[in-house]
């Protein structure tokens, strides 16, 4: 086992121990309350209004493959898609879901079919509302842009994107489409910050699922993630100070 493998194993063990402690020992109502993210609160309001007005939502899942290094962002995108789609699927205008990789397409189609089946409305499922719009970053964005002409009022751009997603946000701005954006790429985040109506920065992307799902397990994992981040910050500052005084 080399250094990296050892560190990762150590991290996983610490995470599991902390998650179990938080999940079983802490009072869920008192200690496991999640701080609300203003961007998600605002998006939920606008999303609710748009469903009431019979408008459509565009859910963009990004172009990262699940098995790739940036696959975690795609997992978050799928999770958030499941929640938003479930809330708007049986409306007058069901959401349109676009993505940029084959595995995301199949998984998202499968999830949407599941919700239609659960609501005994599988005959309303249509492949043309869940599809791959392009397999390279720019072709994906270019393929998704015409969807905004289909009476769309809100769009969520969650997943792995570079700065090219700015084009999709900008197209939405011209059509008065309210956009929530979250990505794991630094260049993508900077672009979204300048353009999108609501944006999530850094690790806030990974807090989407626990916040919108409201499951106890996800809740505990978010608290553990926060705790580990504080430990990492503390460790970094401590090691910098120790190096400064010449101890290490």
């Amino acid at each position: 086992m080399d250094n990296f493998q050892f560190n990762l194993a150590f991290f996983i063990i610490i995470f599991l121990i902390l998650a179990l402690i938080i999940f079983f020992l802490f009072d869920r109502k008192k200690f496991l309350r999640i701080r609300p993210l203003q961007a998600l609160v605002q998006f939920k309001k606008v999303f609710g209004f748009s469903i009431e007005q019979g408008k459509r939502m565009h859910i963009s899942l990004g172009w990262s493959k699940i098995e790739g290094a940036t696959g975690a962002a795609s997992l978050v995108a799928l999770d958030s898609m499941a929640t938003y789609a479930q809330q708007s699927l049986l409306g007058d205008r069901p959401p349109i879901i676009t993505n940029g990789s084959g595995d995301l397409t199949l998984l998202s189609q499968d999830i949407i079919k599941k919700y239609y089946r659960e609501n005994n409305a599988i005959e309303r499922y249509n492949d043309s509302r869940v599809f791959l719009s392009g397999i390279s970053p720019y072709s994906y964005v270019a393929g998704s842009m015409p969807i905004l002409n289909q009476d769309v009022a809100t769009q969520s751009i969650i997943g792995h994107y570079g700065p090219e997603a700015g084009l999709l946000v900008e197209a939405g701005l011209r059509k008065d489409v309210f956009t929530l954006a979250a990505t794991d790429s630094l260049a993508g985040q900077a672009t979204m910050f300048a353009l999108a109506d609501e944006v999530l920065i850094g690790e806030e992307l990974f807090a989407i699922s626990p916040i919108i799902d409201e499951k106890a397990v996800n809740n505990a994992s978010l608290h553990t993630q926060d705790l580990l981040r504080y430990l990492a910050i503390f460790g970094l500052i401590l090691s910098a100070l120790l190096k400064l005084v010449g101890i290490i």
Binding site: M1, Q5, L8, F15, L16, I66, E67, A72, A73, L75, L78, D79, A82, S101, G102, D103, T105, L106, L107, Q109, D110, I111, K114, D127, S128, F131, L132, I135, S136, Y138, V141, A142, G143, P146, N149, P163, E164, G166, L167, E170, D184, L186, F193, A194, L195, D197, I201, G202, E203, F206, A207, S209, K215, V217, N218, S221, Q225, L228, R229, A232
Partner: protein
């Protein structure tokens, strides 16, 4: 009911891959190699299915949405041209490579130029959208780092006292980027672990 065996399979294969990663000389490492190869092949087939689906979607759009049909028609013609050119000449052929890359590079450069313009306008409008402290910090840091990282001070520097200030300023973006990446990597590992313990099931359709 379908989700229980699928969840067990997903957790089991995840654990095997993780064990193979931690113990490279074990039996799990051999299974991990095969599992990853299988995943790559499956992903390639998934891409083929998704592309077929895309063609069907655009074919249907030509007839069902007359106002949008021109985009779908152009897409289908372009796709068929490149597809048959690839079959006839093979992807390694220099003519095919020049044909496809010249189309892709031209279109992507145009989109990049458009993005640059949109971002420049967005920067001017930034304070309308982000009225908080974060917006002000973003605006100031954009101007400061355009000046410092653009090389303006490095060529015209005459005052020695500016050097340490610039050194500190230049290290700020790196420190900020590392901070954000640290948070993202912790989040990514935790998300992976949630799938591994079955708390998140993106495959449960």
């Amino acid at each position: 009911m379908k989700s229980i065996p699928v969840t067990i399979l997903a957790i089991f294969s995840g654990l095997i891959v993780l064990a193979g990663f931690f113990f490279p000389n074990s039996f799990a490492a051999i299974i991990r190699t095969y599992a990853l190869e299988m995943a790559i092949i499956l992903a390639a087939f998934a891409s083929l299915i998704a592309i077929t689906n895309l063609i069907i979607v655009h074919w249907n759009k030509i007839f069902s949405e007359p106002d949008q049909s021109i985009y779908s028609a152009v897409f289908l013609v372009g796709f068929l041209c490149i597809f048959f050119a690839g079959i006839i000449f093979s992807p390694a052929n220099s003519f095919f490579s020049r044909l496809s890359s010249s189309v892709i590079f031209t279109v992507e450069s145009s989109l990049l130029a458009l993005l640059g313009l949109s971002l420049a306008i967005a920067c001017f409008k930034l304070f309308q959208k982000r009225k908080g402290v974060l917006g002000i910090i973003f605006g100031i840091s954009t101007i400061v780092f355009l000046l410092t990282l653009g090389g303006f001070f490095s060529t015209n520097i005459q005052f020695s006292f500016l050097k340490p200030i610039l050194a500190v300023l230049n290290s700020l973006p790196l420190a900020g980027a590392r901070g954000i990446l640290l948070g993202i990597s912790i989040g990514a590992i935790v998300t992976g672990l949630r799938v591994l313990i079955g708390a998140d099931r993106p495959y449960s359709g």
